[in-house]
Symmetry: C2
Subunit: 274 residues, 2 copies
């Protein structure tokens, strides 16, 4: 989604070129090496933009629909949470004299799953990327860090979830004599796709005689960025077991073919040549 | 404690020589490089062994004692716990279709602190070394790993704590459709020091006129290994704020001096020349 973010003006080109992987290689270095960092102007304005993608989730497969008519993308906010304790000897330091960051982590995680239950089924809350220092099993950790991926299709609910999460972390840390830091490392507002694009996808699925349903996207896509500058929409096709971000991700050739057919007809429709 | 473990026959020499640090340098390589891997026979038998050490905890400082007459060392068991989930997309996978290892981790941690409260004040339970894979904030983790340092002076209680911990982990993992693995990565039985050595330390503190008290050790020491082969005892001196395994660890020169004086008199006593 880096290219579409630069195209839409969401991120500056220089900032994206400077992003590095864990070995220090940057996007800009690789674009230069591959000869892909051309000077060609971006193609604006666009009449409309359509994106075909696997659902990356289990909804279409479960309902037997061949085509998902995507109505929008849920809002996404990523947090990096650090609970700061005080390193101390695991054998000699009495339990009640510790500033043990694992205690607030336990309470924060429990609170997160309560929050998820209270906002079911639309909310997504995913703690990940756990790490702690020092790398020593007989020392109370100095700090524990983890990320939280928070998603909801409604902007106001996302704000409320954000506030509740911050209170959860602060209260848990305070209760156990620990400090805390919360950084927002990614923030994408919910996107509602252009009604004309959504309608064109729906009409195309209808025209092709494919079972279809309206669906919201749980994942971010280039269409989210493009939607800021031009009418945009998306077509989903089902994937096996709703699996994505996993090497076992797989779809049927027929599913791809049906998706391409809908894309063609929707594009012709939007171009006024259907 | 590697040297004393080899001396006492707790660990084979080859095994200890093969232990490497995170950069791959082994104990054996470094002993050879420094010329310290001599062929001299170990000095056995010993009449008695005394070890002088900082307490690494806050008890002596809090009570105003200059000398801790160490009666033994609590049992220590280290576990590496892995909760196995199933990696899936953080945005598209409904919360109730996940095998999210962070849920059992939260419940296990909560259970650990309940267990600590139920066995206060002697038990020590320290979760540490948290990590998870993949290193991706928008994927439900494939697994989360952490260690638990468990200590108690009573061998039977330590066994009970071990069983309860295993049930906690298994129940939490099962409840959320996750797998689990528990490895014991260190296991030291509780040690009770030789009454003659303990008595000699106590008499020496008395003789020197230093405020003293009997105390159990929360940390492992060479004396634990030596105690398997010869009468052993220890002398503790207070350290600032009970702080250890932390760069701010500090003691007063006077505290060291008093410890050395007690060591001298206890050694003379045990040698029959006091």
């Amino acid at each position: 989604m880096m290219g579409s973010a630069v195209w839409a003006g969401v991120l500056p080109l220089d900032e994206v070129r400077a992003i590095g992987d864990r070995s220090g290689i940057t996007v800009g270095d690789e674009l230069d090496r591959l000869g892909w960092a051309g000077a060609a102007a971006f193609g604006k304005p666009l009449g409309a933009y359509l994106e075909l993608h696997i659902e990356q989730g289990p909804i279409l497969e479960a309902s037997g629909s061949s085509i998902g008519v995507v109505t929008g993308v849920q809002g996404i906010r990523w947090f990096r949470v650090t609970i700061e304790g005080f390193p101390a000897h695991a054998g000699t330091t009495p339990m009640d004299r510790r500033h043990d960051p694992a205690r607030p982590v336990a309470e924060t995680l429990s609170g997160i799953y309560e929050l998820a239950a209270a906002h079911a089924p639309q909310v997504r809350l995913t703690p990940a990327m756990f790490s702690s220092e020092p790398v020593s099993s007989n020392t109370v950790p100095a700090h524990i860090t983890f990320t939280i991926d928070m998603r909801h299709p409604d902007a106001e609910t996302l704000e409320n979830l954000d506030s509740t999460l911050r209170s959860l972390v602060a209260d848990a840390a305070d209760a156990h004599g620990c400090g805390h830091r919360i950084e927002v490392i990614n923030d994408c507002a919910p996107v509602v796709f252009d009604p004309r694009c959504v309608g064109a996808v729906e009409a195309a699925a209808q025209h092709c005689g494919f079972a279809h349903e309206r669906i919201g996207s749980g994942a971010g896509h280039d269409a989210c960025h493009v939607a800021l500058r031009a009418p945009a929409g998306m077509i989903f096709v089902p994937c096996q077991d709703g699996l994505s971000h996993n090497e076992a991700e797989s779809i049927e050739p027929d599913a791809a073919s049906r998706g391409a057919e809908v894309l063609l007809h929707a594009a012709l429709d939007l171009a006024g040549t259907a």
